[in-house]
């Protein structure tokens, strides 16, 4: 059924790949920059290894990683395990009792070995899964989707540099296809939209297909926070709203940069649409994306604005000097020091956006009508 051409060098690459701690194949020094995703920071360079079976090594690496984790890390994991309880039993109780402790710990980063489970707990997806037994299987096996061919066309173009997704028709690509197809059936108004693959792909590195599917549902349908399906609906209404809000936040909070952007005719859609559409899972260092996702799932979309503003703020002095072309490039390729989560995230937390976001949303709705109404209008058959 796949129409794409088959390349003789596919499946497992002939040259043994070096992968980073997250399973992304490392780029050669002379490989295209800006076209393929940027790699994790050098702090993980020492974690590289190579072998005949990249996926096996990837798994072996994770096993090894937890054996050698230092004492501090082990203490941290123990605290987290206590907080979660067996199979997540104590979690809700703990969150109710000590929400600030939970928030503080999440902001420091969820331990990687517990990330998948915690993401499901904080996003509300675990509850959805338990309430809907058998639904995912039904969607995958028995339903057909109008988006199937679109999904297939994009599968090998989603995280093409990750060992899990690299192998044609391998387990990674199959899972990715199933999750996206299931969602396109579950919500036929959204269907499949380019960008969802990166979100689903990121989730699949930390949980099973079915869990990833329900987390996608929790996010887009709004289990805990406001629904985000507007990111992918016809007309991309929520993307437009977020870009409007970001544009104004930049003008208010970083006036020097806002003025420079206006002069150089930089529109936020030129650099930030992918921040929102994929919640930083596209062409961003993976270790940073994960830390952002920890907070995003617990605190909601405002962290995307905060991180965006923090990046701009950190680089402001350089950005204001650049003419259009260099500026666009810089906004797509932030320097490595700016991408350090332990620097960037504390800076992001210190930026207050809740109130202005609310006000800007109202202003946007005054100009454009309410999102819910716009969505209804867009979905009317014309």
């Amino acid at each position: 059924m796949e129409k794409k051409r088959v390349d003789e060098h596919e499946a497992v690459p002939a040259a043994l790949p070096k992968v980073d701690r997250f399973g992304f194949v490392k780029q050669e020094a002379n490989s295209p920059d800006g076209f393929t995703r940027s790699k994790s920071a050098s702090e993980y360079e020492s974690c590289s290894f190579s072998g005949d079976d990249p996926l096996g090594l990837f798994v072996a690496y994770f096993l090894k990683k937890f054996r050698v984790s230092d004492a501090r890390e082990e203490r941290r994991i123990r605290k987290w395990r206590k907080m979660i309880g067996v199979g997540g039993n104590d979690w809700k109780h703990y969150v109710r009792r000590k929400p600030h402790v939970v928030k503080r710990r999440i902001r420091k980063g969820i331990p990687d070995c517990l990330r998948g489970l915690v993401w499901q707990l904080i996003s509300g997806s675990r509850d959805l899964l338990l309430m809907n037994p058998g639904v995912y299987e039904q969607l995958v096996i028995y339903e057909t989707s109008a988006s199937e061919l679109d999904i297939i066309r994009d599968i090998s173009r989603t995280f093409p540099s990750h060992v899990f997704f690299q192998q044609r028709h391998g387990p990674g690509q199959r899972s990715l296809y199933n999750v996206l197809k299931a969602y396109s059936v579950y919500d036929r108004d959204v269907g499949y939209v380019q960008g969802m693959g990166f979100v689903a792909g990121l989730l699949l590195l930390y949980m099973s297909e079915e869990d990833a599917f329900w987390l996608l549902v929790a996010l887009l349908k709004g289990a805990v926070h406001a629904p985000m399906e507007g990111l992918y609906l016809v007309g991309l209404p929520l993307v437009q709203q977020y870009l409007f809000q970001l544009d104004n936040l930049v003008k208010e909070q970083l006036p020097r940069l806002g003025e420079h952007f206006a002069q150089e005719m930089i529109n936020p859609s030129m650099y930030a649409s992918q921040w929102f559409i994929t919640v930083f899972s596209y062409s961003f260092p993976f270790h940073l994306a994960l830390r952002i996702w920890d907070v995003f799932l617990f605190e909601g979309v405002k962290i995307v604005f905060k991180v965006g503003l923090a990046l701009l703020k950190y680089c402001q002095d350089d950005l204001v000097k650049l003419p259009f072309e260099k500026l666009i490039h810089a906004l797509r390729n932030f320097p490595e020091d700016a991408m350090n989560p332990d620097m960037l995230l504390p800076m992001a937390y210190s930026i207050k956006v809740s109130k202005p976001l609310e006000e800007l949303k109202e202003e946007y709705e005054k100009q454009n009508g309410k999102l819910s109404e716009r969505v209804k209008e867009e979905l009317q058959p014309s």
Binding site: H9, F35, T36, D150, P160, G195, M265, M270, I277, T278
Partner: protein, 200 residues
């Protein structure tokens, strides 16, 4: 119409076309001389630039590579508005992508800059065995609509430079590059737009 002497022109160029037609691959080939079999999907849009020399002038292309999926349509006008040139890309092995290309042509004819240089590129010409869109059909369509037509292969590099070179020679060359930042992309009042556009 072109005056003599060395000139430097900035030309905004936009690539439009169906998902997987090879827009990003054409740009990657043209700008960096590279090809990746599984090019990561473009989310939103990406910007590149490349300079070519034609006769007495150098043309610096400021290239916006857009996302192909229909759903992203609402973002496209920002990128083609004020563009001096557009490349509409289809995949010669995929009839639907050719139909989609025609829709883009229609949209540019009604919404785009009237002086825009438009090229129709039938990409993946290396896949001759699975060709679905006949060259004649595409050529006739292009002629009827005033487009420049060429079949390309980003994979083998066939005709890729020719495509951009041909566009460069067809650009109206009346205005020198006056504003280095000079691209109109913002959906704002026309006063700003007309003063900064290179060719309208």
């Amino acid at each position: 119409m072109a005056s003599s002497g060395n000139k430097s022109i900035n030309a905004k160029l936009v690539l439009l076309g169906d998902v997987g037609a090879g827009k990003s691959s054409l740009v990657l080939r043209f700008v960096k001389g590279q090809f990746v079999e599984f090019q990561e999907s473009t989310i939103g849009a990406a910007f590149f630039s490349q300079t070519v020399a034609v006769n007495d002038a150098t043309v610096k292309f400021e290239i916006w590579d857009t996302a192909g999926q229909e759903r992203y349509h609402s973002l496209a006008p920002m990128y083609y508005r004020g563009a001096a040139a557009a490349i509409i890309v289809y995949d010669i092995t995929n009839q639907a992508s050719f139909d989609r290309a025609k829709k883009w042509v229609q949209e540019l004819q009604s919404q785009g800059n009237p002086n825009m240089v438009m090229a129709l590129a039938g990409n993946k010409s290396d896949l001759l065995d699975s060709k679905k869109v006949a060259s004649e059909e595409a050529r006739t369509y292009a002629q009827e609509n005033g487009l420049f037509f060429i079949e390309t292969s980003a994979k083998t590099a066939t005709n890729v430079n020719d495509l951009f070179y041909e566009i460069a020679t067809r650009l109206p060359r009346l205005q020198p590059a006056q504003n280095p930042s000079g691209m109109v992309l913002v959906d704002r009042p026309a006063d700003r737009a007309s003063s900064a556009s290179c060719c309208s």
